[in-house]
């Protein structure tokens, strides 16, 4: 239904390069990527803000790339909501209808329905300056929906919301999307939002789309080293392929040996990407279960967060393991404790160092 073909744009030293993406009707596609990777620029380009972009933007088979923003029938919502400060809530929501010449009584009916749907009826005559972040978000979303856009472009819509309210708003957006069969392209940094709402995810790095797939495909099988780093692979280990009598290993600094599949030529430089949650620790002297032992080391540091504890083991190079708080209570890893490091099968993603976008294999 919506297809981008080779969309490119240069702004100063930054470029969007040959973006190819497609969305089917009613799909919720997320674009994720590090700050400065061009995500917002991509949304603006689709919206027609940057008239000098090249490539094709096809909506229902019609090429929109030559059209002005007001002719495209899309809605764009920024993370700061960009409400018009001189207009009331009702005027903001009705702006797109008024400007398109929709009769006043029809506009009023649509606005009334939207403020009722979003639970902001008491706010309809207020100005944006007096609204909370959550209220502004509802107004901005209602305004974006008032014109019944064929595609809704959302630029980090939950970034400015109190974390306590965020999950409530995520659920709300999901409900609205289902109610209205909306097609949404959303930019986000949050894995929580992606897992809750996304049908598919596109990873964008340095102005290029590096991988498109379902959440599991992107987060479990990164297509490149960059995607692995961005999607949270904490352990990025570079080494050289070596062979002994029977097996082939990736030899990493510190003497760490990671088993890799037969057939990889010795001497090849490769990168192993491993999630901290996949790294298993076992006390020194214990054989351990749950994977192949790749190194021994000493617990160098631990770091708590709301979900669990990251344990960094010094094996010559640091290897990070992650435990839930409950697991941590069971294991009681201490600073200075000698431990063995194990990796389960299918937990290592290998990439050729000289061709970092070439995903060789998942292996242990």
């Amino acid at each position: 239904m919506i297809r981008l073909e080779g969309v490119s744009l240069t702004r100063g030293t930054f470029s969007l390069e040959g973006i190819d993406l497609s969305l089917s009707r009613g799909e919720h596609l997320f674009v994720i990527g590090p700050s400065g990777s061009g995500k917002t620029l991509l949304l603006e380009t689709i919206a027609g803000i940057h008239g000098d972009a090249s490539g094709k933007i096809l909506i229902m088979g019609r090429d929109m790339s030559g059209l002005l923003p007001e002719e495209r029938g899309l809605s764009l919502m920024y993370q700061d909501y960009s409400l018009f400060p001189h207009l009331t809530v009702a005027e903001n929501i009705g702006f797109g209808l008024t400007i398109r010449g929709v009769p006043g009584n029809e506009t009023a009916t649509i606005v009334d329905n939207l403020v009722a749907r979003f639970g902001i009826t008491p706010l309809r005559d207020r100005y944006p300056a007096s609204l909370s972040g959550g209220e502004k978000q509802r107004v901005a979303l209602a305004r974006a929906l008032a014109t019944s856009p064929v595609l809704l472009l959302l630029d980090e819509p939950f970034a400015a919301i109190d974390p306590m309210l965020k999950s409530q708003f995520i659920d709300e957006l999901g409900r609205i999307r289902r109610e209205r069969d909306l097609t949404i392209l959303q930019v986000s940094h949050s894995r929580e939002e992606v897992y809750a709402l996304a049908d598919r995810v596109a990873v964008m790095i340095d102005g290029r789309v590096r991988q498109v797939g379902t959440c599991d495909e992107v987060f479990r099988s990164p297509a490149s080293r960059e995607v692995a780093i961005f999607t949270g692979y904490e352990n990025i280990l570079e080494g050289v392929v070596t062979s002994d009598d029977r097996r082939i290993h990736l030899l990493v600094a510190g003497g760490i040996r990671i088993g890799i599949p037969q057939g990889t030529p010795p001497g090849t430089r490769m990168v192993a990407c491993i999630r901290a949650a996949d790294v298993v620790l076992t006390p020194e002297g214990s054989h351990g279960t749950g994977g192949l032992r790749i190194a021994d080391g000493v617990v160098a540091s631990t770091r708590n967060d709301e979900h669990g504890v990251s344990v960094t083991v010094d094996c010559g190079v640091p290897i990070i393991s992650w435990f839930s708080h409950r697991e941590m209570e069971q294991h009681q890893w201490r600073l200075g404790q000698e431990v063995g490091v194990l990796l389960p099968s299918q937990s290592v993603h290998l990439f050729d160092s000289d061709h970092p976008e070439e995903h060789l294999i998942s292996h242990s």
């Binding site: 603006e44 919206a47 027609g48 803000i49 002005l68 923003p69 007001e70 495209r72 899309l74 809605s75 764009l76 919502m77 920024y78 700061d80 960009s82 018009f84 400060p85 001189h86 207009l87 702006f95 797109g96 400007i99 398109r100 207020r126 100005y127 944006p128 300056a129 007096s130 305004r143 014109t147 472009l153």
Partner: protein
């Protein structure tokens, strides 16, 4: 301890108050030096006000100032928007050119205006062939006022446009607004206070101009020229009365417009 007393114990506040007080005091003394003798002799003041030419000169000055600001609004507002919203090669040079009237001696500005708009000037010549003259005429006064007030208007309005996030324009366009509608429905309402404020400053600058105006149009006489003429021919008392009338009218206008625009551009219904 009351806040005022607390402030008095802060040596920085004391030093800054003394320094600022000298400037404020200078302005107050200057106003009093005109106002006190005039208020002490209201009959003389009324007599001067009733003299032929005085009220005409005041009306001429204010009207020329309004026309100059109108022209600045039509030509300067688009320029200010372009400068606020775009980066292009040569932008710094254009900004420097706009500010030229700020740094030039007013006689130089007057000479420039005269050379351009005199009957043999680059712009004045084609107009004079059509029977339209700038020298010693109302249009000459207006162009001189426009020239000296350009930076005051353009810089102020450009700053105002800069306060409107460009994303508001983007959102408005995706909602269906054309470029023109974005300007009229979003940008101008949000900068109305800056525009009025800049217009007021430009108008004040325009009606106060002397050198640039008299070089192209000594007659009909604007107030600044009239005050100088009275000072040169009739002495202090004659010129002071005209100056006092001008002062009072300007104060009334400035304060009135400031009060009218106080709430303009503030959209906050927070109790």
């Amino acid at each position: 301890m009351p806040p005022l007393l607390r402030l008095q114990r802060d040596p920085l506040v004391v030093v800054f108050t003394l320094a600022g007080g000298i400037l404020v005091g200078l302005i107050v003394l200057a106003v009093l030096s005109i106002a006190v003798p005039e208020l002490a002799d209201p009959f003389h003041l009324a007599g001067v006000a009733g003299e032929p030419g005085v009220m005409e000169s005041l009306l001429l000055t204010f009207l020329a100032g309004f026309v100059a600001v109108g022209i600045l609004g039509l030509l300067g507002t688009p320029l200010a928007y372009l400068l606020a919203r775009n980066d292009f090669s040569g932008k710094a040079a254009i900004e420097g050119l706009i500010d030229t009237p700020l740094i030039l001696p007013h006689t130089v500005a007057g000479l420039m205006v005269y050379l351009l708009f005199m009957s043999r000037g680059l712009i004045g010549a084609p107009f004079s062939r059509a029977g339209f003259f700038f020298e010693d005429a109302f249009p000459g006064i207006v162009v001189a006022m426009v020239f000296v007030a350009i930076p005051y208007y353009v810089d102020g309005v450009r700053e105002g446009f800069g306060t409107v996030p460009v994303r508001l324009e983007h959102v408005a366009r995706t909602l269906g607004a054309t470029r023109w509608q974005v300007i009229t429905r979003i940008v101008l309402p949000l900068t109305s206070r800056h525009i009025l404020s800049s217009a007021l400053v430009a108008w004040g600058r325009a009606i106060g101009e002397f050198a640039a105006v008299v070089m192209i149009a000594y007659f009909p006489m604007v107030v600044s020229a009239l005050i100088y003429q009275r000072f040169a021919t009739g002495g202090i008392a004659e010129s002071r009365s005209v100056a006092f009338i001008m002062l009072i009218l300007c104060l009334i206008l400035f304060i009135g417009i400031r009060l009218l625009t106080k709430r303009l551009g503030r959209y906050d219904d927070t109790p």
